[in-house]
Point group: C3
Chain length 278, copies 3
């Protein structure tokens, strides 16, 4: 920029971690970021990811990453393998940088956008790197370097062996599908690995049923309040995943379901002759 | 503003929700706000309101809203009826905008200041609005529009049928009053619907008693440390509501009291002959 | 600054409290800070310090304070004695201001840097000060005054009687040391009052053992992943304190240890003839 009076675009770093806030570890990362870039805006997404909750972090990241202004750096520090040989990554899409460990936290990003992945050359960050806190000593300084205009290759090498874990639903035949709970959110909504696109590819069937113990949830509602208070329902979550919810309640608790559990979905095509339910 | 070099006033949006942070829903709202207004400061108030905790949110909002710089937009997203026919509101006071659902979250605001209320025309926010996430798809974009200078009538209609729930204390006669616990705070302080103004209107009586089980709390203390550690006391909270607290303890737990419970207050006017306690 | 066009350095206040966020008390402090200094960046460190957790706050503060840009004001509002005769302090080091109560929250700061301490003249903050909320009515306004350029002596007096609580480990003789758990972090790591410097002053012994019930932890590992999942280990924390951790687990829970508990450390110097363990 030739004109020093010109208005600089604001710079953003988002933070997602399983650190909690109470030990000051997150504070230390914020300090490093602001010392490096005094005009930076640091945005907390969450530090309440459950300890070592890689899958929870991955799902969460997808929920916010693409709403931010282009140029935002998204840091994800859920890193049980910190200091071991797991790689530190910079993942670059057309609009964003993602920085974090190579343990699957970027699984949904890899599915959602084109990207280039790089491995951070840790040794370039000096001898004072704590082997238990790369968030402060490597990832935050890496974010600063990228936002200051360093090119990725200055401190990274291209890298391919990315850890990723997304699992598609299973087609069991006879219009039955085995879905997995991929995320349980703060309200106890059970989010399933079945998207609105999957549903459309099956012909947008209206008569969709999920068996819960000895009864059925039938049809996909528009919103929670479309059923009476405390009743269970199926609806699309705000990113287009099928979810099981409970109006003003907690479906995960009511159904004793958790991340990784399975649920059977059956589709009755309207054109089919109606079958008899069990 | 004619002079493009002139310093713009900073813009602020505060966020209060029951979302927790760990799913990235709050992150998505922050992204939408910053994409719309790159120079905005987004201030977290809380995302730990209990799920569907409308009354807790309403009380909390009153505790901070009026301390912010004029022009601040206060977003409140505690919204169990999202996507149903409950209205989305913009409430405008002389200094602030409030955005959120018409479910009572603004009850204390209506009592505290003059205001104009408007209903958001949801359809104006496009077809991509998720029926389960108006915080991201309607309230945040509405905040952006207001801060960019759109007038309220551009996307809102005047509206009167406001949901509100404040309940005054009951005068039982004979200097006895039935108070309600309207809020239990983080420290377990029991905040009652009886204010310093109410007390002054009763002649600022010094001899005020609350019966707790078989004993009494007598007199309104200045602060927690005016009684020994672990002892219960009455004091004014930081906004002028009467509260029952426990020095270095948790009154709500010690007394097994919760929001909505009642407590009896008795006033002994100094001019009265002293009565005998039971 | 003579040139009004000149770029002002950004100003920062960090917040650490035991308030939780859900009552809006933290929001009120943010409002006061921004109303006083519209361009300020307010950085949350944590509001999840356990209620009245002075020692937790003190340890946390040390973990982040010195990473921030010079000029940052660090506010610490963990203040069970609010409104009593405990003093409100401004502590000034060469790079930072610290504001909070005189109850030990600055114990590690006093050890880590040179400083001048001052007592805030509370009466100068007006009659409207709530005796239960100095964070909003005294500490935040004090931060604003300092960042606006007021000199400390404008509203403070020099003060010496500082409350502090750091306790060194005990040398039991015969190469045995009694250490104390000074902090339990979010992951359940048990942090001990024994630093890398202490260890170096003992000759950096490689054969270091801690007795845990009937078995031993031997040697100081580089990082968590140097032992199998679920196994306990000793390692240095990110600030150079010895800690007991569990790879992908929670050492505090596994060992039923908490802040204030003691642990015995034994050193076997390599030059010594090997002794027999019990």
């Amino acid at each position: 920029m030739s004109n020093t009076q010109s208005k600089k675009s604001p710079l953003y770093v988002t933070l997602l971690s399983d650190f909690g806030t109470e030990d000051g570890y997150v504070g230390a990362m914020k300090g490093v970021l602001l010392k490096g870039l005094p005009d930076l805006q640091v945005l907390d997404v969450s530090h309440s990811i459950k300890a070592f909750g890689i899958k929870q972090a991955a799902f969460s990241l997808m929920n916010y990453a693409f709403y931010f202004p282009p140029g935002t750096v998204h840091m994800v520090v859920v890193d049980p393998g910190v200091g071991t040989r797991r790689e530190g990554l910079v993942v670059q899409s057309s609009e964003y940088f993602f920085i974090g460990p190579n343990n699957g936290v970027f699984s949904y990003i890899y599915q959602s956008t084109k990207y280039q992945a790089y491995r951070i050359r840790e040794k370039q960050f000096g001898k004072k790197v704590s082997p238990t806190f790369h968030g402060r000593d490597i990832f935050a300084p890496a974010a600063v370097r990228l936002l200051k205009g360093d090119v990725v290759s200055d401190f990274c090498d291209p890298f391919q062996k990315l850890v990723s874990f997304y699992e598609s639903y299973e087609d069991l035949g006879d219009d039955e599908y085995r879905l997995k709970v991929i995320h349980v959110d703060h309200f106890g909504n059970l989010i399933l690995n079945f998207t609105m696109k999957d549903w459309e590819s099956l012909g947008s069937p209206q008569d969709v049923r999920i068996q819960i113990n000895h009864s059925f949830l039938v049809g996909i509602m528009k919103t929670f309040g479309d059923v009476p208070v405390d009743q269970l329902l199926m609806t699309w979550d705000s990113r287009g995943f099928l979810q099981i919810a409970q109006n003003c309640g907690n479906a995960a608790q009511s159904l004793s379901k958790k991340e990784g559990d399975h649920i059977q979905l059956k589709i009755f095509h309207l054109s089919h002759p109606k079958r008899t339910d069990i």
